[in-house]
Chain length 200, copies 2
DNA sequence: AAATAGTTTAACCAAATGGTTAACAAATGT
DNA sequence: ACATTTGTTAACCATTTGGTTAAACTATTT
């Protein structure tokens, strides 16, 4: 093999382009350019735009899922899970700013395709977490709350700022520096808000 | 004029298609089909895809902005604003499920274009609200908090569920009925959570 | 070194897509 | 009634875009 990293370069370029522009907006030529190879190579290594997109989607989903699974499956307390998820998720997304938006967008545009992932092994399963909440309520650690609403609050508070960056920054008139420092603040602010609202 | 509602029909169809598929994914033919007219009519009333898109975007922005302005400019107390925004915004979005996602997506894809709106008359301005928060802190109604973080929390908690519907429903395993009833619950849950976290 | 298998490119292709044109139809003004 | 403006359509056009092909080049095997 001339260069065993060609396939890898293609995937990297595809990730970059697909995550920024989405399936519909991405152009095979642009991916080829970014990977510095001929367009035909895309089809040599990946059969089609759809297949290449699927590789990118899979990679994104597999990178994202562990953060959720940490909340769903680890042995930490609910308080610890909230604190740790917020911190690690915000750090993660600051490194991968296009990823959550990409996942959300493509799942919305393509529900049948997305269901393939939600039915799979790597798909996070909220059952254990639900049980944990019920246990901690019974133990008198937590107020009676709906686990689903708690998760929704947690995901909303951590993810929305990044998914809606443009809108948020437009409305609140934030420059990039202010935005970033606010996100750092939120690593502490969000757990405080949530824990305070559920601890007995 | 043969039918004075043709232009209106086009805009309606364009709203439907653009909001679901975005600028990149929308097809002029599909808009024409949905409006039940010839494709050439699109160019007769609106010069180009870009112009048609801009009309759709403007309409969406103008529908959305008042909800924010209600928070920024009305004379209600902070507590009332939180309660009323949550209720009216969730109701609004349940009627217009594609709108927030559309705005967010196109603003992210097209920041320069979006800045045209954030600089305009209809653009919400957070200054008065910031002042109000400072006043209410001084009056001893509110704990010392950052107005921007409060707004971010409010927007996150209300909007994210809709923007990330697919992902949220996939992860939490929610059918449409459960999702909707959760959104109704959130009209009460969110103000409670937020107000409790800021009232002195 | 010759044969073989794997990699890369330039040129090409068909379909899709945004947009145009020219002719026709309907309404409106005189 | 007739001319003019406005609305509508079918056919067409140029470009973009995803995808293919055949030949060339490189590495590996024998």
């Amino acid at each position: 093999m001339k260069d065993q990293s060609t396939e890898e370069n293609i995937l990297k370029a595809a990730i970059s382009v697909f995550q920024k522009k989405g399936m519909a907006g991405a152009r095979m030529q642009e991916i080829a350019d970014e990977a510095k190879i001929n367009k035909a190579m895309l089809h040599y290594y990946y059969k089609s735009k759809q297949k290449l997109f699927e590789a990118v989607f899979r990679q994104a989903f597999e990178k994202f899922a562990p953060h959720i699974n940490q909340v769903f499956n680890s042995d930490k307390s609910v308080f610890e899970k909230i604190t740790e998820f917020t911190d690690s998720y915000i750090s993660f997304v600051m490194e991968n700013p296009y990823l959550p938006n990409f996942l959300i967008q493509e799942i919305n545009n393509n529900p049948e395709f997305a269901d393939l992932f939600f039915g799979s092994e790597i798909a996070p399963n909220p059952l254990r977490f639900k049980k944990q909440i019920e246990d901690e309520i019974e133990m008198g650690i937590l107020k009676p709350i709906d686990p689903k609403q708690l998760l929704l609050n947690l995901f909303s508070l951590t993810a929305f700022s990044f998914v809606g960056t443009g809108l948020v920054r437009g409305i609140l008139n934030l420059d990039e520096k202010t935005f970033k420092s606010m996100m750092e603040e939120r690593k502490i602010l969000i757990p405080k808000l949530l824990i305070n609202s559920i601890k007995k």
